[in-house]
């Protein structure tokens, strides 16, 4: 079996077995390593990507499920770190070890794409899907608020 789909606007192809998590195809076949492996069980959000414009755990998505679909990874969010969420993340100096932050940023971008002016409670609810072991949470809230304001 072979699967064709789009990643960051470009045609992508995988010969991995159908049940293979999209995460590993993205990271090890396509070598887009900004998307991270954290838990493999859809609990931490380090692997978050967008599939057809909505956030999805790439570790819980089998490669067969994205055939014909469009996947966006952190590398495709912007060409030059200019997405309002990325700019806000730097302005608020959110990252510490940084490992979870691609997933955090993809979650935040998804929130703002569907709800451009979220209130604090909505931000907290949406972003609680992602774990940050460095505890950058307070800055994450500030950064999402800033991105919403400056977008």
């Amino acid at each position: 079996m072979a699967f064709d789909f789009k990643v960051n606007g470009k045609a992508a192809h995988s010969d991995a077995p159908p049940h293979t998590p999209l995460l590993w195809v993205i990271r090890e076949e396509l070598k887009l390593t900004g998307t991270k492996f954290g838990c493999g069980t859809g609990l931490c959000g380090a692997c978050m990507v967008h599939i057809d414009g909505k956030r999805a755990f790439s570790c819980q998505t089998q490669v067969s499920q994205v055939a014909g679909k469009a996947v966006t990874t952190i590398e495709g969010l912007s060409a030059d770190s200019s997405h309002p969420v990325q700019k806000a993340w730097l302005a608020e100096r959110v990252p510490q070890c940084g490992y979870c932050q691609s997933g955090q940023i993809m979650s935040a971008a998804d929130l703002l794409a569907h709800n451009p002016k979220p209130n604090r409670a909505q931000i907290i609810e949406h972003m609680s899907t992602n774990i940050c072991r460095c505890g950058s949470y307070q800055r994450i809230v500030r950064a999402v608020e800033r991105a919403a304001k400056e977008a």
Binding site: R27, K31, C44, S81, Q96, C97, Y137, Q138, R139
Partner: protein, 730 residues
């Protein structure tokens, strides 16, 4: 401002201050594309190279795991060099203990929140020395007395004649003395002259952490690379007895099954094949090793008996006066017992490493994220029985460390080296999250028994603390344990609460030997010690009917910095104001010189036992704050880490094996569970002390003290899970 990782070009140059003729034996590369300096470079010391294009390359000696040392250490040197930060390139120092050792440890090791503390003095001197060399060269060039020269960032100025020379211009003709010039303390900048320290520069790798280009070892790709996974014995000391690998071998892409003394390795063409094969292995294990049969719940009872029975043998940790005698004569004696479960690091990047052993087995390239790169080189060299200079080490960012990556055996690095050695090809060995939990090395179980005595006037006259726990250093770093003559700093430091004035003090280590894998974890020994000590102080204050903040004030009254932060945090939280439906808990500690006080506000749902923490206030004085906003970030981080320890995080062991496996049964804090945090950094002119974990130990006792205030019930065991809280409330 760029990061330069490849320093091979620096290696070819011949002269450097204090290290004439030194060339780097090992090239360190990080996965950033370096912006090469356009001009000719002059290496002015093993730490600094200035290019004729005015670029200043500065070595960064510490490992970066999120704490910011990659930036803050070169910043200190740049300050005294008076470098223009926009022209600084940070170069990751290669593994070389002689040149780049952490002065506090004697080797390149990033731990204990001491990087800035330990390197501060030397880095300032190195910067000042290079500045002096530049000044001397400019003075000679202009034929003027050096005393007439000053500097501005990257420029030497002769004010009298209005002449200026950039550092890059000087590099074009600079002569470097064989011996570094002397620098007197009085020649260093005063804190009010700092241009960089205390000003919050952007952490150098942060831009790469918002666009996915930051490189961790798990991201490494090497041509021809294979994938490895290892099934380890569930119990430390066990090994494979019978291995049925028929099913594993039948999985497409699986190349080798590798029996190891401690487990079974798999080498495959793809990560999914490696993981599937590991799952498909059927292994029975030898019951070798001490921990078989160990049960963590039962062990806590045994540890408690050992701690409470003062006739049982103990190692003397600290003694002042005669605490047992004072307790005999005391007008009032108070005792308390506190227990702590095992805790897991849960760094976000599951452990992994990439190794590429040469076809002849006589050299190895290594990509890994470790707290000690020289240990990583030693581990690889020892595994292959080759010389350390045959290891080419590539420094990688770490997706969290928290103490997990600082063990003497760095076993996940060893994994990659041994599997690569089997096939003589590059192998990326990845642990799954389940591997990372089950093969975890944990903050150990501990039981603390404390006694205190007051005289008739109500003065605290005796303090006695016995801590029963496994000796962590013995497992984590036998080399260090030997050097410390069996004195286990990781497990016990701080049990004496030496910063509290008590005339009679006895602190005793009651070592246990459960055979479990143990580790330092964020907060180190203080994580559990301070839960005991600060809970106990709160109990003492309540028994005496004294306000808990006032009670601490009395015990630190000769330390104005401590008093200041105690008063500050009390002011911030409006301590003393009664809340409706919630209450506050107070804590203080002197953490390796950093003065820190923390107050938590809690609510308790009596029906469910759920404790919530809406707000936390912290004030800390770490001396000079090199990167003040990063001090705040590290403190936020410390509080969140401490919250997990306080309320949820718990590893249980049965028959020696870990029972948890992933984030569904090991609960770490999420955004909707963290308090609003109010943090004030009170920077002073004192020598900088740690900031990376100082709030972590205070969170649990602050919560317990607040619960006591709110309900009158004392919680004595971490985590303070709903079941335990419900039970305690009755």
């Amino acid at each position: 401002m760029t990061i330069q990782i490849r320093n091979t070009d620096i290696g070819r140059r011949g002269f450097m201050i204090g290290a004439a003729g030194f060339t780097f034996a090992v090239a360190a590369r990080l996965p950033f594309e370096p912006a090469e300096a356009a001009g000719k470079d002059v290496a002015l010391s093993p730490w600094v190279t200035i290019s004729t294009d005015d670029t200043v390359a500065i070595m960064s000696p510490a490992a970066e795991m999120g704490q910011g040392s990659l930036t803050s250490l070169p910043l200190i040197l740049a300050e005294e060099l008076d470098a223009d930060w926009s022209k600084v390139r940070i170069v990751v120092a290669p593994p070389n203990d002689e040149l780049y050792k952490n002065p506090a440890f004697g080797y390149m090791y990033t731990a204990g929140s001491n990087a800035v503390t330990a390197y501060f003095k030397d880095l300032r001197r190195f910067g000042a020395q290079v500045r002096k060399v530049l000044l001397a060269n400019a003075a000679k060039h202009w034929n003027v007395p050096v005393e007439e020269l000053t500097t501005e960032p990257n420029v030497v100025i002769h004010e009298k004649s209005g002449r200026r020379l950039s550092y890059g211009e000087i590099a074009a003709f600079a002569e470097v003395p064989a011996r570094a010039p002397e620098v007197a303390e009085s020649e260093l900048k005063k804190t009010n002259q700092f241009r960089l320290i205390g000003k919050d520069v952007m952490r150098v790798e942060l831009p790469q952490k918002v666009n996915g280009t930051a490189q961790y070892s798990i991201d490494v790709h090497v041509p021809g690379m294979l994938y490895g996974a290892i099934l380890r014995s569930p119990v430390e000391g066990g090994g494979p007895d019978k291995v049925d690998d028929a099913k594993a071998k039948s999985i497409a892409g699986v190349m080798r099954i590798v029996p190891l003394p401690y487990g079974v390795g798999v080498i495959a063409e793809t990560p999914w094949a490696a993981f599937d094969a590991k799952e498909a292995l059927k292994v029975t294990w030898t019951r070798t090793g001490k921990a078989w049969g160990f049960n963590s719940e039962k062990a806590l009872v045994d540890f408690a008996a050992a701690a409470r029975d003062i006739s049982r043998p103990a190692k003397l940790w600290a003694k002042e006066g005669d605490a047992p005698a004072a307790l005999q004569t005391a007008a009032m004696v108070v005792e308390g017992e506190y227990r702590n479960d095992l805790v897991y690091h849960a760094q976000m990047e599951p452990l992994n490493a990439v190794a590429s052993v040469s076809p002849a087995g006589d050299a190895c390239e290594l990509w890994c994220g470790v707290q000690s790169k020289t240990i990583a080189v030693t581990v690889a060299a020892s595994a292959l029985k080759i010389a350390p200079d045959k290891i080419t080490y590539h420094d990688m960012l770490m997706g969290g460390g928290f103490g997990r990556r600082g063990h003497r055996d760095e076993e996940y690095v060893h994994d990659a080296v041994v599997l690569s050695n089997v096939v003589k090809k590059p192998v990326k060995v990845m642990w799954t999250r389940e591997d990372d939990v089950r093969n975890g090395r944990f903050n150990p179980l501990s039981v603390h028994y404390l006694r205190a005595g007051f005289d008739a006037s109500g003065k605290l006259i005796a303090y006695h603390h016995r801590k029963a726990t496994d000796e962590v250093t013995a497992f984590q770093d036998p080399v260090r344990f030997g050097r410390q003559n069996g004195r286990d700093i990781i497990a016990f430091v701080g049990i004496d609460a030496a910063y509290y004035a008590v005339p009679n003090r006895l602190a005793e280590a009651v070592p246990q030997d459960s055979g479990l894998r143990t580790s330092s974890l964020r907060g180190i020994s203080h994580l559990t010690n301070i839960f005991a000590i600060e809970s106990f102080m709160d109990e003492l204050a309540r028994k005496r009917g004294v306000d808990p903040a006032t009670f601490r004030r009395e015990l630190v009254k000769t330390n104005p910095r401590a008093l200041n932060i105690i008063d500050r945090v009390a002011h911030m939280a409006d301590w003393g104001k009664k809340r409706d439906g919630s209450a506050l808990g107070f804590t203080y500690m002197n953490y390796s010189g950093t003065q820190i006080a923390l107050i938590a506000e809690v609510t308790v749902d009596r029906g469910s036992g759920v404790v919530r923490v809406p707000k936390v206030w912290t004030a800390l004085d770490p001396g000079v704050a090199v990167q003040p906003d990063n001090v705040v970030a590290q403190t936020e981080s410390s509080i969140v880490y401490g919250l997990g320890f306080a309320l949820w995080e718990r590893i249980t062991i049965d028959d020696g094996a870990v029972q948890e496996s992933n984030f569904y049964d090991y609960h770490v804090p999420r955004l909707n569970e963290v308090p609003e945090m109010f943090i004030e950094v009170i920077a002073t002119d004192n020598h900088p002390t740690g900031v990376g974990q100082m709030a972590t130990p205070l969170v649990a006792p602050a919560i317990a003290n607040a619960v006591a205030e709110l309900t009158g019930v004392r919680l004595r065991e971490t985590p303070m899970s709903p079941e335990r809280v419900k039970k305690a409330l009755g």
